[in-house]
Symmetry: C2
């Protein structure tokens, strides 16, 4: 069969703000493919059905020297991203012609293991969703739905009656988070960027409270409808900072993106790294820990001391009347070692 | 027996910066106690041996309207805090005369259930530590040692060969964290506020690297000796922010104080709330979660959709050549619903 064009969207140059199609990405139709004869090498050939553009892809279009959670894309190669493909030839016994696969694909009409190393390893066989067109698959089964569902299961620790706040609540991922949290019995507060999306959140998704962050401050919305037990953060920066202040004790924050900083509009300290490096952060207080760890603690510490494995150092002050002064000097970091005020002789 | 004076340190007024003894706290000797006849009500009477001033107490000296993790102290009442007491009379069969108890006590030479409601419930029987004076008890068995040991056990997830950074490493709590982490096989980087303390950290505690944060920036120290897998944060503010940037993927940050903000010198966003409300914060990424949650996800989502419990919404764009434009508009939040680019007909 005669080769036919297999156009691609190429990564052409590193964007500084929002990417500019035609400059940072380029549609290129110089490549050709012979659908009948392209070697499959035990794999399969697919026809692209859907491409699912997703925010995280922006992170890949950066100077490779910058560290992040997604590997940097290489200039001149085709863009890759989420999508749905249909199998049109196969040498893999587990994959049949006509199967639909979702996962990471490259931006072109056809792909095979021979032309795209990314393909097969990231693809999962999927079925049409009940009552939905195929176009519903990237949202529900692609990274938005997957991340929402798994993130809540692994880290959300959702309890009926709690309150969750979801930023970018009307987005593909946010609207999944809102609905899954609601199904788990939580009160849902969501923010989004237009009044039309606020209406969608209230009337279609059915969240309890929604607001437009461009006209209502996060702080005032959460003052009214909070406090919150869970914050699903897709935004980072100032929104994350504001949400922290409205958390209940033992709240969970799921940092899942920082779209406010992807395109260089804003830099807010280093909070974005909490997401990029999947850092877990725990506020800790002794009284929370004593019920579980009180027993083993005494045992181990006596042992460590007896074995000479633990050094201690005291800054000793004498007399009750000096206790407050000793404490202020401690706050000022004036002395070395644990400040201890001797009030009376222990041996007496 | 004749009553004898039982002086106290009273909480006199709310401090604005560092507390001023004589102004914010006052030594008062107007109270008397009859050691032989004070009613014990089934409890016991103790003589104070040691008082252990601790930084967290500062948090209690605030306007009661402000929320925090420690309850606010009431003006005019005696200061309370950590300490060691010896039992001199007892009606409680579990507590013998001569026993030593550590915990929260009030700042006065004697206390009983009758004169101090705090006493008994917060006190734990302790023994002298092997090879140590009684003055070592507040550091090792009091809140510094307890918090260090339990915090690392519960949240540290320490692995041999990892690197930990400890701020206020020469402090009572910090030096415990350094040593326990080292015993667990971690490389330890510690910061402190004087060259004398740096020397102590290196020569006595034996940490791998120590620096004086007043003369060396956290950022440059961690650039040299990091990256880090665990950050034990006693400081908050700018130090926490800097440490976040030097974390490895899946690092743990244990937020255990924010001494940089206790005395109002500095306010750094809302990071302090992570400690005050024991917030757990997780950076999350889909690919970390798929191995554990991939199976149950598909099952539950198909079920939710079949039952009509999950709403989906798509913003549909046609043609591969429009995929990059669709993606940029997604980054700009221009549309409602999951953006999907239809490249070919799924039914074909």
């Amino acid at each position: 069969m005669t080769p036919i064009p297999n156009p691609r969207i190429l990564y052409a140059s590193i964007p500084t703000g929002y990417p500019i199609p035609g400059k940072n990405t380029k549609y290129d139709d110089s490549e050709q493919i012979d659908l009948e004869n392209v070697p499959l090498k035990g794999g399969y050939l697919t026809r692209t059905v859907l491409i699912s553009p997703e925010p995280w892809l922006r992170e890949r279009l950066r100077d490779p020297i910058e560290v992040s959670c997604a590997s940097p894309m290489r200039l001149g190669l085709p863009m890759v991203g989420s999508g749905l493909v249909k199998v049109i030839r196969s040498e893999d016994p587990k994959i049949k012609v006509g199967d639909f696969l979702a996962g990471i694909i490259r931006a072109s009409p056809y792909q095979s293991v021979d032309i795209d190393a990314w393909g097969p390893s990231w693809l999962t066989k999927v079925q049409k969703l009940p009552g939905k067109d195929w176009t519903a698959v990237p949202g529900v089964l692609g990274s938005p739905g997957t991340t929402a569902w798994m993130g809540l299961k692994e880290y959300g620790d959702l309890k009926k009656g709690e309150t969750i706040y979801v930023s970018t609540g009307a987005g593909a991922l946010g609207s999944m988070v809102c609905q899954l949290a609601q199904a788990a019995g939580l009160k849902v507060i969501a923010s989004t960027g237009s009044d039309e999306k606020v209406k969608y959140l209230i009337e279609v998704i059915g969240v309890d409270y929604a607001f437009n962050y461009k006209t209502t401050k996060v702080d005032s919305a959460l003052s009214k409808w909070g406090p919150i037990d869970v914050y699903w953060d897709n935004v980072g920066g100032e929104t994350l900072d504001a949400a922290i202040a409205h958390c209940n004790v033992h709240a969970r924050i799921l940092a899942c993106g920082y779209i406010s900083e992807y395109n260089g509009e804003e830099k807010y300290g280093n909070l974005a790294w909490i997401f990029k490096k999947r850092i877990r952060m725990y506020g800790i207080l002794m009284s929370d820990l004593v019920p579980k760890w009180g027993g083993p603690f005494f045992e181990e510490v006596y042992k460590l001391l007896a074995e000479g494995k633990l050094k201690t150092q005291e800054h000793i002050v004498h007399g009750l009347e000096n206790a407050d002064k000793a404490w202020v000097e401690l706050l000022q970091g004036k002395h070395l070692g644990k400040t201890v005020v001797v009030v009376s002789n222990p041996e007496a």
